[in-house]
Symmetry: C2
Subunit: 419 residues, 2 copies
């Protein structure tokens, strides 16, 4: 990189002292990866943890329970934030930048909720925040969107952004496990968030999508603006339907551009066996980038787990040794892109008989049938309506295989409302 | 990147004047991609071409037939080398660096033959040479090996490194085309090299592998040291065997590390339908990186074609606007790695009856049968022997699905020779 400008030797690389917040799955993974990596010019000076009475594998004097011991230590160059609590995490990031420290974080919720502020804080204090580990674990997607696809015209990004739900869906299909058992296993393996609803309701992949949208299209969007439909209401009938048709079910995060509009949402979808995402199993994540000239590119890698995420964090730390920072290039490219949810989506909707869902709710009704007290309707329906339904008891929403996604023409829409 | 050190504005980016050598498939692709890309701070000032009497889509005064018009023009910052002739290409690159110009090239043959010199010339003249487009087209593999996997411990890299043979094998299997027809189609589409033997005999993927080995393991190896076995001797019987067993055949380039040895070769292999590379079709390429902590990562993208390769070249040009250069980090990490071909490989060997191949040639013979005047032998055999056989008339060599690859213990080897 260009800290190496006019010289390729490594002498320019700085030796970094790290202050680590959190010593859970990822924190311990990072410690191990760092320990096993020769030539990395960084060392952990202090680790701030919450619980006093936990036995830890490292010498006690490496640990502190007061964040000031890291944030106010002039000797520490980089704050590595790996805690669960998004609010506390943001305070740490903000103070670290104010105190002239670079930051590496893997906290997708915090990033999604504060990305624009974090961008501005970087401008204000001139210190970088890197977060490759926050988006699809070991897959270097942010770095590639920033550096490699910096000029190609990106039209869409989609994929499997959550390892634990993909693990659960894999087990449910391949081993005919129940959700409960599959989820518990995922948590034992350290794939699942401490709050499983973040995963199964599609919040975790949404947070990652929000970050990806900023680096793909140069648009800041708030997580609450982005619709997420989870896998927690998928029924045995849905699973049977998928099996009978040779489909898989994947929780897909996607964003794409049509004219000056950016769309983005998270929802489960039936996936044909020939689809590139069908073969992405267990805790693996996948990201497909669609661009004008490089065309379709697929990245597959471990999206969760102690070492894969730890190695992504380490890669950011390594980048800081030559003062790398995100440029948010898409943000600086002139555009008039606006995020919107005015989208019509082709979906399968399952619900108990008597639920207030009817053919007329669909902009284009395709088929419907009833079985075992359940009703099925298939057709094109507005994304907002799907979101509303997905909040109702006993309503399952799954996108059709290769579902058509149609931006709503304001005019056409108002007509259809009038009619 | 760190030209942005202490500032994230774009003002630091330089506007580049480009001198282009060659205006074939990739050159014209680059011209189009550059033309269609807003915000890229680069323009083509001159294009040097060979043939005087060709009608070209651009104004005549953009073209020249004398390379000095570019190499001696102090106004030109970057030489973009996209010609076929490897020897002429190296002279251009060398002179460009000597004249203080940065270089972008997509010439894998030239790079493979001169990589160590090109590395030293960069040190000597302090100007970068970038070549993402030379290795798997649009897949950003070199950049990721350099910047993202700079510290993770890489143990192996393998994949489909040649778009035209993958296109041919796809057509041969899916459309039951003949080689001839499939190859011709590939050339019409601009996937195949002007000399098809570079593709079908596995030289082109070998050249890419040589470059990848330098950036994966920090080892320079000469292309003539690396064994390449092509797809040009695959017989109808091989195809039938693959179809009967639900296998595909892919031309696989791979390199991996065992203790202090690096192995690398190109050979066709039977691939099971569940293998991640099985689904990589037509001109798509794929690269799998195996590392200690990020674990398995798969990159899939267009490996050939005018725009995909053009966009990779553009991405390198864009990187030069902030003075990016490869650091060859693996080369600077202390290691005692040596490249060797002392490997035992599990393979299927088909040959005409009477060919001087016998069970005793195998280090571990597994099975054999005869059919239609052809003989088949399956077992573990030395890579050198496979290379020798693959040069004989009527001998086909294809690696077994998930073939075991066993480094030869010098001692054990000498025993087996003695016996």
């Amino acid at each position: 990189m260009s800290a190496e400008k006019n010289n390729t030797s490594h002498t320019k690389h700085r030796h970094l002292k790290l202050g680590l917040f959190g010593f859970g799955c990822v924190g311990q993974g990072l410690y191990h990866v760092l320990d096993e990596t020769p030539g990395i010019k960084a060392e952990i000076k202090r680790i701030c943890v919450k619980h006093k009475n936990k036995t830890r594998p490292l010498s006690e004097d490496l640990f502190t329970f007061s964040k000031e011991d890291i944030l106010n230590d002039p000797d520490i160059d980089v704050v590595v934030e790996l805690i669960d609590d998004a609010k506390a995490a943001f305070d740490i990031v903000k103070t670290a930048l104010q105190n002239g420290k670079a930051v590496v974080t893997a906290n997708k919720k915090m990033l999604a909720e504060h990305l624009e502020e974090i961008y501005q804080l970087q401008q204000q204090y001139g210190k970088p925040v890197l977060y490759e580990g926050a988006v699809c674990g070991a897959i270097p997607i942010i770095r590639n969107l920033e550096e490699y696809y910096d000029n190609d015209l990106l039209t869409g990004i989609e994929g499997i952004f959550n390892g634990s739900t993909n693990y659960i869906l894999t087990k449910v299909f391949e081993e005919r496990k129940s959700y409960g058992d599959a989820l518990q296993k995922a948590q034992e393996l350290g794939f699942a968030e401490s709050d499983p609803s973040l995963d199964v309701k599609g919040f975790d992949p949404k947070f990652k999508l929000v970050v990806a949208i900023a680096h793909t299209f140069g648009v800041f969007v708030k997580p609450e603006e982005v619709i997420n439909i989870g896998i927690d209401r998928i029924s045995d009938l849905d699973l049977k339907f998928a099996r009978d048709n040779g489909y898989g079910i994947k929780l897909i995060a996607r964003a794409f551009k049509v004219e000056n509009k950016v769309f983005g949402f998270v929802a489960p979808q039936f996936i044909e066996s020939t689809h590139p995402l069908y073969a992405v199993r267990n805790e693996y994540n996948a990201v497909q980038v669609q661009s004008a000239f490089a065309e379709q590119q697929l990245f597959v890698g471990k999206g969760a787990g102690s070492y894969p995420t730890g190695s992504a964090v380490l890669s950011d730390i390594s980048a800081l040794t030559y003062d790398y920072q995100y440029e948010y290039k898409k943000l600086h490219q002139p555009h008039d892109l606006k995020f919107t949810n005015r989208l019509t989506v082709e979906a399968f909707v399952s619900f108990d008989e008597g639920t207030a869902i009817s053919m007329s709710d669909f902009e284009q009704f395709q088929s419907g049938y009833a079985s075992h007290g359940k009703q099925y309707m298939v057709g094109k329906v507005s994304l907002e309506k799907l979101q509303e339904w997905s909040g109702w008891d006993g309503v399952g929403v799954i996108l059709a295989p290769n579902a058509t996604l149609t931006p709503q023409k304001e005019v056409a829409k108002s007509f259809s409302l009038a009619s």
